[in-house]
């Protein structure tokens, strides 16, 4: 992980890697060029058909009449379009409302995760209290406890919280706060802070910079790449979450799209339902295409971290 937020240019890296398994000299040999070229083409076709295919089918069927999708699902618009599916899903099936809920849940989860991960990692990496090692050990321990097995005690805690005499069912805090307890975020952030040059902190301290000023004016601005990575994964994870919001948000008017979709399926025609599915995917797909560098880098980082 590079400490400095320098944008990597893509080209040199590609050329460099092409020097790897297949050397530049090898590429001059016709057998290599044709053989690999064909293989790459086949791979691309497979990726489009298998990876992209289901998504394209969903996009097509979202604007096809229900009857066409049922009788000949793979025909391409045999009887024209049904744009009405989208507007019916949007207003009659209330996708607009559930989408708003999804956005509110995602932004709240993101905000809490960023606050907890940055402040905690800053304290553990830069301020270093004496008891920091104990906290770090307790954090790493939670990485070994899969989140899903805490479902039952967490649920009971939300319904009957200790000390407080109020239930947090149907309260967005019940979704936001547990999601902020992500040791993965803290560890990722702490590793990044650990690699920031200490001399800058020391210089700032000599110039009379206190711990709060150091955090806001120096550490955070230097951490833009890792903030981007943690942010896109926080937002995506919240968008994808299903089981926890299903348990703690019983009121349909508060539920996100992912929780509503299985219910919507029961009382809507197939075409409208597929339009609702497609509308759910628009934000994550567009977000991924725009911020693909953060996504792909973060996934690679995750592998490096786990390794």
């Amino acid at each position: 992980m590079s400490a400095r937020p320098v944008r990597r240019k893509r080209r040199p890296r590609d050329v460099e890697a092409a020097q790897g398994l297949v050397l530049t000299d090898d590429w001059r040999r016709p057998s290599v060029r044709w053989g690999l070229g064909t293989t790459h083409f086949v791979l691309l076709v497979l990726l489009v058909v298998i990876g992209l295919g289901p998504i394209l089918w969903l996009a097509k069927s979202a604007i096809s009449p229900t009857l066409d999708t049922i009788t000949s699902p793979l025909a391409i618009f045999p009887h024209g379009f049904a744009w009405g599916n989208l507007s019916t899903a949007w207003s009659n099936v209330d996708v607009a409302l559930y989408l708003k809920n999804t956005v509110v849940l995602a932004i709240g989860s993101w905000a809490f995760q960023i606050v907890v991960a940055t402040s905690g990692a800053y304290a553990l990496s830069v301020l270093r209290p004496k008891y920091g090692n104990v906290i770090m050990a307790l954090l790493l321990m939670t990485l070994f406890v899969p989140a899903v097995v805490l479902l039952v005690p967490l649920y009971i805690e939300v319904v009957h919280p200790p000390l407080l005499h109020t239930s947090f069912v149907n309260n967005y805090l019940a979704v936001w706060l547990p999601e902020a307890a992500s040791a993965f975020n803290v560890v990722l952030m702490k590793r990044f802070f650990d690699n920031l040059p200490r001399e800058i902190f020391e210089a700032a301290r000599i110039d009379g910079c206190g711990p709060f000023r150091l955090f806001y004016s120096i550490v955070l601005p230097m951490s833009r790449p890792i903030l981007g990575v943690v942010s896109v994964f926080a937002l995506l994870a919240s968008w994808k979450d299903y089981l926890w919001p299903l348990l703690v948000l019983g009121d349909p008017n508060l539920q996100p799209l992912s929780v509503r979709l299985p219910e919507i399926q029961q009382f809507t025609p197939l075409g409208v339902f597929l339009a609702a599915l497609a509308l759910t995917c628009v934000v994550p797909i567009v977000g991924f295409l725009v911020f693909q560098r953060s996504f792909l880098r973060g996934t690679g980082l995750g592998g490096a971290l786990k390794g």
Partner: protein
Amino acid sequence: MSAVDPMTTERPQREAAPRSAVGPPRVHVGRRTPATWVQQGGLSKLIFLLPLLFVFGAFSWYPIVRLVMMALQHTNLVQPATWVGLKNFSEVIHDPLFLIALRNTAEFAGLALIFGYPIPLIMAVLMSTVRKRRGLYAVLAYLPVVIPPVVAVLLWKTFYDAASNGVFNTVLGWVGIGPQQWIQSQSQAMPSLVLESTWANAGSTVIIYLAALVGVNHELYEAASVDGAGLWKKVWHVTLPQLRTVLLITMILQLIGTAQVFIEPYLFTQGGPANATLTVMLLIYNYAFGNSLGASYGEAAALSLMLVGFLAVFSLVYLRATRAWSSQ
């Protein structure tokens, strides 16, 4: 790991540790009072740690303790909890569904390993040789990962329509294969779930391998070329050995992930047909929240704890068994 245990050793060890970058260096003059603690930045350290301590304390550490307690208690949220010892565990073990859930989860994990483990590796190695527009390949491979799992499952449920004009059955019809029952058949349901799960998850493994492949030392390839190694020999003798740490980690992570599979059996089949896709997580969910069994939080907690314990022991054994090979 240092030879001296930092927890038990006194001052010298601590002095060796890197100093805090902020606040004046700690001077041990006189007694430490709350005032000197604040002066030395102890308070601001605590303030920065508070969000983390609160959130993890309330939603991670406390629930872990609570999970262990609940496994030993009878709780129904109405009456006060009573301690019942290991009764919850014995009830779970004697539940006829327990063995079925274990077998199904093992089947899911095994099939996911067979389908899902080699494919991302082959794709990543091939993609690493692409010279132009490698980004396009990576984006296409990763795209299914950003689709919300609920959408992916419900979409594939439509594909698995058992009618002869269902999506997959139509495709099979093109090559002369008759319609299949897919998730409605006891024998095909589990492989169908694994197929969807592989589609949804393979992309992130591909990207992890691609990142690791960029890190392989190029001189090794050049040396292999000089020695006359062809493409396959280079893959076998250079690429794979260089990836072995990542390969071992992704395998254990995949096994841990698939052991907790929930959303696929829950939304595709509700554990059916005839419990053919009832997994451990689904059984935990049914104990705690399923109407048919009533709320048996104690049994759900006991089974959760058994799952964590199994995964922890399994990971330790796995890491120990592969340590020699991974750090060669």
